[in-house]
């Protein structure tokens, strides 16, 4: 039995370690092959350009896309900004209405808010209890002046997979540009751009064992999608995004996506088994609830509410596990997770939630350790909880007049 190294990392949806195979590939491009890929006059530039184009082809291959459809950015936040602002501004003469979803990442929601300030109108669709949008409700939200729809592939908090194929069909039929924030999807969901009617797709390297600070935007060529650039300068990336290309980062993303393509099937199966092992290990405790659809979900994610236990104190109690919480107390804003609230979970359940996200380096031994720790600490915190005591006495907590503060 190998020695368990603490704390155990179960926060792969926040970020992943760079795979050592990826890091090894990146290093020569920092020290030896340091050329500027835009330098056309010498071999330093040519070598760097070749590396960038190889990486572009790898990213395209994971999506079954054309390499010319991949635009490098600094990460998914920039990709979301470029896609949403760029498309809205380019197509504004057609209409001013945008549709997105309440459970999107802030990079999408805040970009939409900014567009509202610029005079666009945005519909924020709610989700069902399982975290998925209601397709009929989506159809009903479409207006003659709708120009853009933005829906995420995989939710970062609860891991649910939206029905991107169907939403894409509806958008294409109506001639609406469709953007997908796919930050959490590479290596987890099979994506084929020849099948999916997606026009713009945001990608990130560091959620898939690549480095931070690099991402890409897929921009469809057939039918062609136009964007107004948000970053002006030397006209790199065919004018979509100026700025010197970070060769080493790009090489890292290319290698990470190559590995994702090759290892996705076996890795997903292994991680699913571990995730199910974790859930089976804790689900028999009383008052434990899974957040988000169980089936329409990536195998890496388990988001659980431990009722009557507050999230931050639980995180402190299980400090040997690196996890995140939907609790207000772990956020600067003191607001509980807006994603969990959008599911209709009450504030208490949001406060009591923990997100476990598993990944490439998670082991069975780590999961077994986590199960034992959770059982012990949740028992102790419940002994400390007046809400648990009242629940056990049969008091209906909803009938209590709380003094809100």
């Amino acid at each position: 039995m190998s020695q368990l190294k603490l704390p155990i990392y179960l926060d792969y949806s926040a970020t992943t370690p760079v795979d050592p195979r990826v890091a090894a590939k990146m290093i020569p491009y920092l020290t030896e092959q340091f050329g500027n890929p835009a330098s056309r006059s010498h071999s330093f530039g040519w070598t760097a350009e070749e590396a960038v184009e190889n990486a572009r082809a790898e990213v395209a291959k994971l999506l079954n896309a054309d390499p010319k459809e991949i635009v490098w950015t600094s990460g998914a936040t920039e990709s979301d900004n470029l896609a949403i602002k760029g498309a809205a501004q380019f197509y504004k003469s057609r209409g001013k209405h945008i549709i997105t979803v309440k459970t999107e990442h802030k990079a999408v929601l805040d970009t939409c808010r900014e567009l509202e300030r610029q005079g666009f109108e945005v519909t924020y669709l709610g989700v069902q209890e399982n975290g998925l949008i209601d397709i009929e409700e989506f159809k009903a939200a479409i207006r003659p002046d709708t120009i853009l729809v933005s829906v995420m592939y995989v939710n970062n908090e609860i891991g649910v997979i939206q029905d991107i194929p169907q939403i894409g069909e509806i958008c294409r039929e109506k001639g609406i540009i469709f953007h997908v924030d796919a930050t959490q999807a590479p290596g987890k969901v099979k994506m084929d751009m020849n099948v999916l009617k997606v026009d713009l797709m945001s990608l990130s390297a560091h959620k898939a064992y690549g480095p931070k600070g690099i991402g890409a935007l897929y921009v469809r060529r057939k039918p062609r999608v136009r964007l107004e650039a948000q970053m002006h300068g030397g006209g790199h990336e065919r004018g979509f995004r100026s700025g010197t290309l970070p060769t080493h980062q790009i090489v890292g993303m290319g290698e990470a996506f190559r590995l994702a393509r090759e290892e996705m099937d076996s890795e997903s199966e292994r991680i699913r088994m571990l995730r199910d092992r974790l859930w089976n290990g804790i689900k028999d405790m009383e008052e434990v609830y899974i957040n988000g659809d169980i089936d329409q979900r990536v195998p890496h994610n388990l988001n659980v509410s431990f009722n009557f236990v507050e999230g931050e104190s639980l995180i402190m109690a299980i400090k040997d596990l690196a996890v995140s919480s939907g609790s207000a107390c772990t956020s600067a804003s003191l607001e509980p997770s807006y994603v969990l609230r959008a599911l209709g979970r009450n504030d208490e359940m949001a406060h009591s939630s923990i997100r476990f996200t598993l990944g490439r380096f998670t082991t069975e031994e780590e999961i077994d350790f986590a199960i034992a720790l959770l059982k012990d600490k949740i028992g102790k915190l419940r002994e400390l909880s007046p809400l648990w005591e009242m629940f056990k006495e049969g008091v209906d907590l909803n009938s209590v007049q709380w003094a809100a503060h």
Partner: protein, 127 residues
């Protein structure tokens, strides 16, 4: 979040966890906060014939600071008269545990819990 050693000690080894019989005449119970806000404190005091708090117990649903604040006040109220207990200020709790600014509300809640427990006791005794 980086917490002080004192806070961590109270969080990891909370003092006086538990409950007294609510109906007991010598017991005052204070329950403050709300589940929706992320913290609920229940503080109980046991008062002897001389009007001195001889024992205290708590249960808290909340973050580490809330648990530590309530654990601390159970220690502080013991041996005090009701008036002395009422004089405990949230600023003293916050200072003792070196609460970060976003957690000051936990100390306010602990002060409120003492006041609620004392007033429950007084009500039982028609004061």
């Amino acid at each position: 979040m980086a917490y002080s050693d004192k806070l961590m000690d109270h969080y990891e080894n909370p003092r006086n966890v538990g409950s007294f019989e609510k109906g007991d005449d010598s017991v005052g119970t204070g329950m403050v906060g709300a589940p929706a806000c992320g913290d609920v404190m229940k503080l109980q005091i046991k008062v002897n014939a001389d009007g001195v708090i001889e024992d205290a117990k708590f249960k808290t649903y909340g973050c580490g600071s809330a648990i530590a604040s309530s654990s601390l006040v159970t220690e502080w109220v013991k041996g005090k008269s009701l008036d002395e207990a009422m004089a405990i200020k949230n600023t003293a709790i916050a200072e003792e545990l070196a609460l970060p600014p976003v957690k000051i509300h936990c100390s306010i809640l602990a002060e409120d819990a003492i006041k609620a427990a004392v007033s429950d006791y007084k009500q039982k005794h028609g004061k």
